[in-house]
C-alpha cells in the first residue's frame, strides 16, 4: 500500500478534481465515499481505479477485500482524505470508479421511473433509491436533472445505481419510443382529466414521469402521456416534496399491479 501525506501529491490533485462536474464529465470517473457505498460496489465486483483509506479506517475494519478490489490502494493522512471528501466529516474511505450505465433491458421487467428536470440532488438520489426498493425496472433521467455522480446524489442513492439501470435520455425522443413499444405513459399533473392515483390501475408495463420541483412535468411531455395522475391534498400544504410524491405513486401503482397481475 502506497502512502500519501501531501496535498500536493499528483494523484490527490487529480482525484480532487472529480468533486467538480466538468472534470467528472471529461474523465468519465467519479468518487464514492464511506464504507456502505464502497461495500455496495464491492458486492457488484466493480474494479476501483483507486482506493484511499486512512489508518484509522484500517484499524477499525476488515480490509482484506479492499486490497483485492484495486491495484491502487493508498494510505492517506486525515488531511488528505478531507481534501477528497464532500462531507464535513469524512468517513475514512473513498474510491474512484468509472461511470457505468447498466443498460435498460427490453422487454421491461417492471415499471420505469422517468425524471424531467428534477434538480435537487437529494431528490434525485432518493427517487432512484425508492425505485430500487419498489422493484422498478429502471430510472430514466431527462436533460436538466442533477448529476447522479455528484457526492450529494451518491449519498442519497445509497448504491441503488449499482442495482438497477439509471440511464440518461432525451425525453423528446425517448417518450415516443416508449409509446411505440407499448409502454403506458403516466404523467403527474393537476389538469382536468387527471385522475386520483388510488382510483387508477396501470397496465403492467408503464412509465411514471415526475417533474421539476417548481414547475412539474413539462407541458410537451404531459401531452404525450396516456393518463395523468395526482395525489389529493387533504390539508393546507400547497404541494408535496417531489421525492415523497414519487414514493407514494411508485408504491401505490406497484400495489395495484401486484393485486391485478
Amino acid at each position: 500500500m502506497k502512502e500519501i501525506t501531501s496535498l500536493q501529491n499528483a494523484t490527490i490533485k487529480e482525484t480532487k478534481k472529480l468533486l467538480k462536474p466538468k472534470y467528472r464529465e471529461q474523465t468519465g470517473d467519479y468518487l464514492i465515499e464511506g464504507e456502505h457505498l464502497i461495500q455496495e460496489a464491492l458486492k457488484e465486483a466493480l474494479n476501483f481505479e483507486k482506493i484511499f483509506v486512512t489508518e484509522k479506517f484500517i484499524a477499525n475494519h476488515e480490509t482484506f477485500e479492499l486490497l483485492k478490489a484495486s491495484t491502487d490502494v493508498f494510505l492517506v493522512s486525515e488531511q488528505v482524505m478531507k481534501s477528497l471528501s464532500s462531507l464535513p466529516t469524512p468517513q475514512g474511505i473513498a474510491g474512484v470508479l468509472q461511470q457505468q450505465e447498466k443498460p435498460l433491458q427490453f422487454p421491461l421487467e417492471g415499471p420505469l421511473l422517468i425524471l424531467d428536470r428534477v434538480q435537487d440532488p437529494g431528490n434525485v438520489g432518493t427517487m432512484i433509491r425508492t425505485a430500487d426498493a419498489a422493484g422498478y425496472a429502471g430510472v430514466v433521467l431527462g436533460e436538466g436533472c442533477a448529476d447522479i455522480y455528484s457526492g450529494k446524489v451518491q449519498r442519497s442513492l445509497q448504491g441503488s445505481h449499482f442495482h438497477l439501470p439509471v440511464v440518461q435520455k432525451k425525453l423528446e425522443t425517448f417518450l415516443p419510443f416508449l409509446k411505440e413499444n407499448g409502454i403506458q405513459l403516466l404523467g403527474t399533473a393537476l389538469d382536468e382529466e387527471a385522475k386520483i392515483y388510488t382510483e387508477f390501475t396501470p397496465e403492467k408495463n408503464f412509465a411514471l414521469i415526475m417533474g421539476n420541483e417548481g414547475q412539474g412535468v413539462a407541458q410537451q411531455f404531459l401531452q404525450l402521456t396516456d393518463r395523468n395522475l395526482y395525489i389529493p391534498i387533504h390539508g393546507q400544504a400547497e404541494s408535496l416534496n417531489v421525492a415523497v410524491a414519487a414514493g407514494i405513486l411508485m408504491y401505490g401503482l406497484k400495489g395495484k399491479i401486484l393485486q391485478k397481475y
Copy 2:
C-alpha cells in the same frame, strides 16, 4: 422604513444570532426567509417582530402588506441580508417571529404523526409538510429530533407549521397518554409480528411513529404499540428514506380510513 447598511448595526448583530440553536432557545424567536414563507405567515396574520427587505425585493414585489405586518421594517443592503441568511443566495426578505406551538386539540380530528429522534432537518421538515398534505391532525416530535426552527427545517416545512400543530413531547409519557385516550399506536418495524401496511386497516384515530434514520423506532416505544407496520422491499435497496417511507405510510393509511369511515 429604517435603513441599515452596516453589518455592525446592533439589530443585525442581534438578529444574526438567531441562526444559532442556542440563541433561538434563549429568546424563543426564529428567522424565516423567502417570499413564500413570509406570505404563509402573513396568511396566518402573524405579527413579525422585525422584517428585513432589500431594495431589489421591494422593486419587484407588492409590499404594502409587509408594512402592516410589523412595526419594525428595515431596508437593508444585499450584504446585510446575506449575513442574516442561511442560503447561498438570499431571497431578499427575512422576518423574525416568535416560536409558537399550536396546541393539539383533543379529541383528535385526524391521525397523528410522531417522530422519534429523526435527525436530518430535511427529513423532519418534509415529514411535517407531508402530514399537512395528508390531512393529519398534528405532528409530535420526541426528544432528539432536528430543531424545527432551524433554517433547513423551515425550508423543507414550507410553512406547514403554520397550518397544523407541531409539538414537542417526551414520548416516554406521551405515548402512554395517547393509549389511555384510546388512540391506536402504530409503530414501524420489521419484527415478526409486523404487518405489511397495505394489509392493515387502522382505527379512525391512530398515531403513526416513525424513527431515527439509522436505528428506526426505539425498542421501548415499539413495545407500547398496538401494531407494527412495514413497507415491503421488492428490489435490492436495503431500506427507504424515512421521509419517503412516512409519505407512503401516511397516505396509505389515510386511504384506508377514507374508504372505511
